[in-house]
Protein backbone atom coordinates (compact mmCIF):
# COMPACT_ATOMS: atom_id res chain seq x y z
CA UNK A 1 0.00 0.00 0.00
CA UNK A 2 1.34 3.39 -0.96
CA UNK A 3 -0.05 6.61 0.50
CA UNK A 4 1.03 9.98 -0.84
CA UNK A 5 0.40 13.24 1.02
CA UNK A 6 0.10 16.15 -1.39
CA UNK A 7 0.46 19.91 -1.09
CA UNK A 8 1.28 22.81 -3.39
CA UNK A 9 5.02 22.74 -2.93
CA UNK A 10 5.59 19.29 -1.44
CA UNK A 11 7.64 20.61 1.49
CA UNK A 12 5.23 21.91 4.12
CA UNK A 13 1.67 20.84 4.61
CA UNK A 14 2.24 17.51 2.85
CA UNK A 15 5.19 16.71 5.10
CA UNK A 16 3.14 17.45 8.23
CA UNK A 17 0.34 15.26 6.85
CA UNK A 18 2.80 12.46 6.10
CA UNK A 19 4.24 12.58 9.63
CA UNK A 20 0.83 12.49 11.25
CA UNK A 21 -0.39 9.74 8.89
CA UNK A 22 2.65 7.64 9.82
CA UNK A 23 1.88 8.19 13.49
CA UNK A 24 -1.71 7.05 12.93
CA UNK A 25 -0.63 3.97 10.96
CA UNK A 26 1.72 2.93 13.78
CA UNK A 27 -1.11 3.26 16.29
CA UNK A 28 -3.47 1.27 14.09
CA UNK A 29 -0.79 -1.37 13.46
CA UNK A 30 -1.04 -0.89 9.69
CA UNK A 31 1.83 -0.99 7.24
CA UNK A 32 2.10 1.40 4.30
CA UNK A 33 4.69 3.57 2.62
CA UNK A 34 3.88 7.26 3.07
CA UNK A 35 5.48 9.91 0.87
CA UNK A 36 5.03 13.67 0.64
CA UNK A 37 5.00 15.44 -2.68
CA UNK A 38 3.62 18.35 -4.72
CA UNK A 39 0.52 18.34 -6.93
CA UNK A 40 2.35 18.00 -10.26
CA UNK A 41 4.45 15.04 -9.12
CA UNK A 42 1.37 13.33 -7.65
CA UNK A 43 -0.53 13.84 -10.91
CA UNK A 44 2.33 12.40 -12.97
CA UNK A 45 3.32 9.42 -10.83
CA UNK A 46 -0.19 7.95 -10.38
CA UNK A 47 1.16 5.06 -8.30
CA UNK A 48 -0.49 5.69 -4.94
CA UNK A 49 -3.50 3.81 -3.63
CA UNK A 50 -4.44 6.69 -1.38
CA UNK A 51 -3.79 10.43 -1.71
CA UNK A 52 -4.10 12.65 1.37
CA UNK A 53 -4.57 16.39 0.98
CA UNK A 54 -6.28 19.38 2.54
CA UNK A 55 -9.67 20.27 0.95
CA UNK A 56 -8.25 23.14 -1.15
CA UNK A 57 -5.88 20.73 -2.89
CA UNK A 58 -8.33 17.84 -3.36
CA UNK A 59 -9.93 19.55 -6.37
CA UNK A 60 -6.58 19.50 -8.17
CA UNK A 61 -6.32 15.73 -7.76
CA UNK A 62 -9.47 14.76 -9.65
CA UNK A 63 -9.25 12.07 -12.32
CA UNK A 64 -6.39 10.13 -10.77
CA UNK A 65 -6.68 6.37 -10.16
CA UNK A 66 -6.20 6.80 -6.39
CA UNK A 67 -8.67 7.23 -3.59
CA UNK A 68 -8.41 10.87 -2.52
CA UNK A 69 -9.01 11.66 1.14
CA UNK A 70 -9.53 15.24 2.29
CA UNK A 71 -8.03 16.00 5.69
CA UNK A 72 -9.49 19.18 7.17
CA UNK A 73 -7.10 19.53 10.09
CA UNK A 74 -3.52 18.44 9.57
CA UNK A 75 -2.90 18.13 13.32
CA UNK A 76 -6.13 16.30 14.12
CA UNK A 77 -4.97 12.72 14.63
CA UNK A 78 -8.54 11.60 15.39
CA UNK A 79 -9.72 12.80 11.99
CA UNK A 80 -6.79 11.15 10.18
CA UNK A 81 -7.35 7.93 12.14
CA UNK A 82 -11.04 7.83 11.26
CA UNK A 83 -10.54 8.52 7.56
CA UNK A 84 -7.49 6.30 7.06
CA UNK A 85 -8.98 3.35 8.87
CA UNK A 86 -12.19 3.68 6.85
CA UNK A 87 -10.12 3.57 3.66
CA UNK A 88 -7.74 0.81 4.71
CA UNK A 89 -9.66 -1.60 6.92
Amino acid sequence: MKIVAVCGAGIGTSVLLKMNAEKVLRTLGLTATVEATDIDTARNSRDAQILLATPEIVDKLRGLPSEVIAIEQVFDLAEITEKLSKAML
Partner: protein, 147 residues
Protein backbone atom coordinates in the same frame (compact mmCIF):
# COMPACT_ATOMS: atom_id res chain seq x y z
CA UNK B 1 19.38 24.55 20.90
CA UNK B 2 16.40 23.08 19.10
CA UNK B 3 16.20 22.86 15.31
CA UNK B 4 13.29 25.29 15.44
CA UNK B 5 15.36 27.79 17.37
CA UNK B 6 18.23 27.61 14.89
CA UNK B 7 15.85 27.72 11.91
CA UNK B 8 14.75 31.12 13.20
CA UNK B 9 17.75 33.28 12.33
CA UNK B 10 18.53 36.75 13.71
CA UNK B 11 15.79 39.12 12.58
CA UNK B 12 13.33 36.35 11.73
CA UNK B 13 10.94 36.93 14.64
CA UNK B 14 8.53 39.87 14.42
CA UNK B 15 6.01 40.23 17.24
CA UNK B 16 2.75 42.12 17.49
CA UNK B 17 2.82 43.33 13.89
CA UNK B 18 0.13 45.17 11.98
CA UNK B 19 -1.05 43.62 8.71
CA UNK B 20 -4.01 44.84 6.68
CA UNK B 21 -4.67 41.53 4.91
CA UNK B 22 -3.24 38.04 4.38
CA UNK B 23 -0.87 39.19 1.67
CA UNK B 24 0.76 41.84 3.83
CA UNK B 25 1.06 39.27 6.64
CA UNK B 26 2.80 36.81 4.30
CA UNK B 27 5.04 39.59 2.96
CA UNK B 28 6.04 40.48 6.54
CA UNK B 29 7.00 36.85 7.13
CA UNK B 30 8.87 36.85 3.80
CA UNK B 31 10.78 40.01 4.67
CA UNK B 32 11.79 38.38 7.97
CA UNK B 33 13.16 35.38 6.03
CA UNK B 34 15.04 37.82 3.78
CA UNK B 35 16.49 39.92 6.58
CA UNK B 36 17.67 36.79 8.40
CA UNK B 37 19.56 35.82 5.25
CA UNK B 38 17.58 32.70 4.39
CA UNK B 39 15.85 33.78 1.17
CA UNK B 40 15.77 36.45 -1.52
CA UNK B 41 12.75 38.63 -2.31
CA UNK B 42 11.73 36.22 -5.07
CA UNK B 43 10.80 33.66 -2.40
CA UNK B 44 8.40 36.10 -0.76
CA UNK B 45 6.69 36.63 -4.13
CA UNK B 46 6.53 32.86 -4.64
CA UNK B 47 4.83 32.31 -1.25
CA UNK B 48 2.21 34.94 -2.10
CA UNK B 49 1.70 33.48 -5.57
CA UNK B 50 1.22 29.96 -4.17
CA UNK B 51 -1.70 31.21 -2.06
CA UNK B 52 -3.18 33.10 -5.02
CA UNK B 53 -2.95 29.90 -7.09
CA UNK B 54 -4.02 27.27 -4.57
CA UNK B 55 -5.97 29.09 -1.90
CA UNK B 56 -5.57 29.29 1.83
CA UNK B 57 -4.42 25.71 2.40
CA UNK B 58 -1.35 27.05 4.21
CA UNK B 59 -3.64 27.84 7.14
CA UNK B 60 -2.88 24.50 8.73
CA UNK B 61 -4.55 24.90 12.12
CA UNK B 62 -6.89 27.40 13.78
CA UNK B 63 -5.09 30.75 13.84
CA UNK B 64 -1.90 29.39 12.28
CA UNK B 65 -0.59 29.83 8.73
CA UNK B 66 2.57 28.23 7.37
CA UNK B 67 3.23 29.93 4.04
CA UNK B 68 5.91 28.34 1.90
CA UNK B 69 6.93 27.80 -1.71
CA UNK B 70 8.94 25.23 -3.60
CA UNK B 71 12.67 24.87 -3.06
CA UNK B 72 14.37 27.15 -5.60
CA UNK B 73 17.35 29.44 -6.14
CA UNK B 74 15.50 31.99 -4.01
CA UNK B 75 16.23 29.85 -0.94
CA UNK B 76 19.74 30.52 0.39
CA UNK B 77 19.44 28.39 3.52
CA UNK B 78 16.64 26.35 5.10
CA UNK B 79 14.88 28.46 7.67
CA UNK B 80 11.68 29.77 9.16
CA UNK B 81 10.31 33.11 10.24
CA UNK B 82 7.64 33.91 12.78
CA UNK B 83 5.25 36.84 12.69
CA UNK B 84 2.57 37.38 15.32
CA UNK B 85 -0.22 39.80 14.45
CA UNK B 86 -1.72 42.43 16.73
CA UNK B 87 -5.03 41.96 14.90
CA UNK B 88 -5.76 38.65 13.17
CA UNK B 89 -6.29 38.62 9.39
CA UNK B 90 -8.52 36.48 7.18
CA UNK B 91 -6.84 34.18 4.66
CA UNK B 92 -10.05 32.72 3.24
CA UNK B 93 -9.80 29.31 4.91
CA UNK B 94 -13.05 27.47 5.54
CA UNK B 95 -12.30 26.50 9.15
CA UNK B 96 -9.08 27.98 10.48
CA UNK B 97 -9.51 31.74 10.00
CA UNK B 98 -8.63 34.26 11.32
CA UNK B 99 -4.85 33.93 11.50
CA UNK B 100 -2.73 35.43 14.27
CA UNK B 101 0.49 33.46 13.83
CA UNK B 102 2.38 33.25 10.54
CA UNK B 103 5.23 30.75 10.58
CA UNK B 104 6.83 30.77 7.15
CA UNK B 105 9.07 28.00 5.90
CA UNK B 106 11.84 27.97 3.29
CA UNK B 107 13.52 24.70 2.41
CA UNK B 108 16.63 24.10 0.31
CA UNK B 109 15.37 20.75 -0.93
CA UNK B 110 12.78 18.12 -0.10
CA UNK B 111 14.72 16.33 2.64
CA UNK B 112 16.91 18.52 4.84
CA UNK B 113 14.08 20.16 6.75
CA UNK B 114 12.17 17.02 7.75
CA UNK B 115 13.49 16.85 11.31
CA UNK B 116 12.77 20.55 11.66
CA UNK B 117 9.15 20.01 10.62
CA UNK B 118 8.93 17.07 12.96
CA UNK B 119 9.81 19.42 15.83
CA UNK B 120 7.31 21.93 14.49
CA UNK B 121 4.58 19.28 14.41
CA UNK B 122 5.38 18.16 17.94
CA UNK B 123 4.92 21.72 19.23
CA UNK B 124 1.88 22.73 17.22
CA UNK B 125 0.22 19.35 17.69
CA UNK B 126 -0.23 20.38 21.33
CA UNK B 127 -3.60 21.77 22.21
CA UNK B 128 -3.73 25.59 22.38
CA UNK B 129 -0.10 25.99 21.34
CA UNK B 130 -1.01 28.95 19.11
CA UNK B 131 -2.58 30.74 22.08
CA UNK B 132 0.37 29.91 24.29
CA UNK B 133 2.67 31.38 21.68
CA UNK B 134 0.57 34.54 21.49
CA UNK B 135 1.06 35.13 25.21
CA UNK B 136 4.79 35.65 24.56
CA UNK B 137 5.75 39.31 24.43
CA UNK B 138 9.48 39.00 23.77
CA UNK B 139 11.66 37.08 21.35
CA UNK B 140 13.37 35.45 24.31
CA UNK B 141 10.08 34.03 25.56
CA UNK B 142 9.31 32.70 22.08
CA UNK B 143 12.72 31.05 21.76
CA UNK B 144 12.37 29.50 25.22
CA UNK B 145 8.95 28.14 24.30
CA UNK B 146 10.25 26.62 21.08
CA UNK B 147 13.40 25.11 22.62
Amino acid sequence: MSLLDSALGAGSILLNQKATDWESAVRLAGSALESSGRTTAAYTDAMVQTIHDLGAYVVIAPGLAMPHARPSEAVLETGMSLVTLAEPVVFGHAKNDPVSVVFSLAALDHDKHLELLSEFAARFGQENFVNTLLTCSTEGEIRALLS
